[in-house]
């Protein structure tokens, strides 16, 4: 046997696989992923020059979709950041937001044909507040009855419960309003502006502005308020936070509440923008929003917002330039690729590896 230079060679197939896997996910992987990104950008630039009007129109759609996804993604990322649980039911409470908004708006007597005015504005503001509070409370309740008892259980248990809650919420909506798509009143003004051939509507601006306001409010809250600090501390090190006197249960409940506030608002906004909702909306939207959260970096608020916008844009371009049938494949493909090549996401800190 020679003196110490030959490493213990991986002799079995299993060991070779392990080596390959590590190489795959390391530098080679990162390089591949960046290369893919560059290729994608080049394709988009080419398409932009070919038909700038269409390109920018789709960009508008992508941004508005993305803004809505961002609102949902924030809830996912916050909950995951604080208790490392993927709240499968989050997409469904997003939908619930729109469902709850329907009877509330009806109660105000506002009508589609109405001209946009003070009455509608008041109705909207109050409904938003009510929806946010109601959905917030629903999420807190879900956490209390389904997730808290399992906080110390083996990993599989809370995950399965989360899936179960998702079905429960969907089931309740299904029983409440049935399987068909519901019409959501079109209350926002139809006006828009045309720049070159691109149409930007008041609705589009509305969605973007609302999202920006909510995200900014959230960021300020997290960074400046006492509760926000408690949330960040709990997310980083639960035991230390507890030792500092932070009430963990309250902090976690607050996280669920705030995440749901955003999702509920997002759901109602979705309804106002697209004018139709369906009990199964949350399932798909939820998965896309989760992909956005992972893309941006799970646990990171700005990441979720950024991820949402990016995914919205990518999905819009995929719909337009390729086919809406293939968009889900693209989105989930991105999800799998990120987790394999760059699990921390674009801005993230948390590594989804053991």
């Amino acid at each position: 046997m020679s003196e110490g230079t030959t490493a213990v060679r991986d002799r079995t197939v299993g060991d070779a696989l392990r080596q390959a896997q590590q190489a795959f996910a390391g530098d080679v992987g990162g390089a591949l992923f960046s290369a893919l990104g560059v290729v994608g950008l080049i394709i988009l630039v080419v398409l932009a020059f070919q038909n700038p009007g269409q390109f920018f129109q789709i960009l508008i759609y992508g941004l508005t979709d993305g803004a809505l996804y961002a609102l949902v993604a924030l809830g996912y990322t916050m909950v995951y950041g604080i208790i490392e649980l993927i709240n499968f039911a989050h997409g469904d409470i997003f939908t619930l937001g729109s469902f709850v908004a329907l009877p509330l708006l009806a109660a105000f007597g506002v009508d589609e044909g109405q001209a946009f005015g003070v009455q509608i504005v008041i109705a909207l503001v109050i409904t938003y507040l009510l929806v946010m509070i109601i959905i917030g409370m629903v999420n807190v309740t879900i956490e209390r009855i389904a997730y808290r008892p399992l906080r110390n259980a083996p990993r599989l248990a809370p995950l399965i419960t989360a899936i179960g809650m998702s079905f429960v919420v969907e089931g309740l909506m299904y029983i409440w309003r049935g399987p068909s798509t519901l019409h959501f009143p079109d209350l926002l003004p139809e006006t828009g502006w045309i720049v070159n051939t691109v149409r930007i509507g008041v609705k589009d601006i509305y969605v973007l502005v609302l999202a920006i306001i909510l995200v900014t409010a959230l960021t300020l809250f997290i960074n400046r308020s006492k509760l926000g600090k408690a949330m960040r501390a709990t997310a980083q090190d639960r035991d230390a936070a507890q030792l500092m006197g932070i009430d963990i249960n309250r902090t976690i409940a607050a996280t669920f509440f705030i995440g749901a506030v955003l999702a509920g608002a997002g759901g109602m906004t979705w309804g106002l923008y697209f004018n139709n909702v369906n009990f199964a909306l949350g399932f798909n939207a939820g998965l896309i929003a989760f992909t956005a959260a992972v893309l941006g970096g799970i646990g990171n608020i700005q990441g979720a917002a950024l991820g949402g916008l990016l995914i919205g844009i990518i999905a819009a371009y995929s719909d337009a330039y390729w086919s809406p049938l293939w968009t889900p494949v693209v989105v989930f493909g991105i999800l799998i690729l990120i987790l394999v090549f760059r699990p921390t996401g674009l801005l993230g800190m948390r590594v989804p590896e053991k």
């Binding site: 046997m1 110490g4 030959t6 490493a7």
Partner: protein, 255 residues
């Protein structure tokens, strides 16, 4: 093969800005008991983890039986012949004691999946052999009566001994014991030392981390001392015991 079964050379491990162990070098002679001591937080377990592959050393090399093992993942160091126990006991709680030991034999078993699935005579024979060997190991450490109990339900001392049996099942040439006597009564410590001597008689080198100085002085042939991530002494028990730097590290400058 040289007389040193394990050679640690310049091993350094950094976590971001924190240097856990810095430039550690020593040799472990084959067939003896080598001890690693030092105040809490000195980096002893970190060093173990670097040797067994749970951590990859930032710098330096680990050579085992003249083969460079640096950075090899844990299952490969186990395959090469290094076994270990853990400071906080990491048994498979909801498996029986017998099963725990049989898992240890995993790495030396030859049956392939097809054999297992079809229950060929080869697989059956090997299972019988493996079960018998596991029982022997349980007898060796003295807990054969508890073979069918869940590891979780064993007494603390029995759990520590089970961990040793499981490590021995991997047929190691070098056994790393991380604070094997922690929480033991004096009687249990005497029994442990007897067990270590029996293991040496089998030809297995024992490398242990331990805090109880009496135990360390009684059974080790060589000792290395770590403090704040650095090696501050190495030698025979007498040499180390009288080394002023060692005394200072343990008792502080006031001593």
């Amino acid at each position: 093969m040289s007389d040193n079964i394990l050679r640690v050379s310049g091993v350094t491990k950094r976590f971001g800005g924190l240097v856990a162990v810095d430039n550690i070098t020593f040799d472990v002679p084959a067939g003896e008991v080598f001890a690693l001591i030092g105040p809490n937080g000195a980096g002893k377990t970190t060093l173990f983890n670097c040797i067994t592959g749970i951590y990859k050393p930032t710098l330096g090399t680990v050579t085992f039986r003249d083969k460079n093992l640096t950075g090899s993942p844990p299952h490969l160091t186990a395959k090469a012949g290094i076994a270990r126990t853990f400071q906080n006991i990491r048994l498979f709680e909801y498996m029986t004691a017998l099963d725990n030991v049989m898992v240890g034999e995993h790495v030396r078993m030859k049956a392939k999946i097809w054999d297992a699935v079809l229950k060929t005579p080869f697989a059956r024979r090997e299972e019988a052999m493996v079960t018998e060997k596991a029982m022997e190991l349980l007898r060796f450490v003295g807990i054969e009566r508890h073979a069918e109990k869940f590891a979780r339900n064993l007494a603390y001392g029995q759990q520590r001994r089970l961990e040793i049996a499981r490590a021995l099942a991997t047929e190691p040439k070098l056994l790393l014991l991380d604070e094997p006597a922690a929480g033991f009564t004096p009687q249990e410590k005497v029994e442990l030392m007897g067990l270590v001597r029996k293991i040496i008689e089998l030809g297995i080198t024992v490398f242990l981390i331990e805090h109880d100085m009496k135990v360390v002085m009684q059974i080790s042939q060589r000792i290395a001392v770590l403090d704040h991530g650095e090696k501050i002494a190495e030698g025979s028990p007498t040499e180390v015991r009288n080394n002023p730097r060692v005394i200072e590290a343990y008792l502080g400058k006031s001593a």
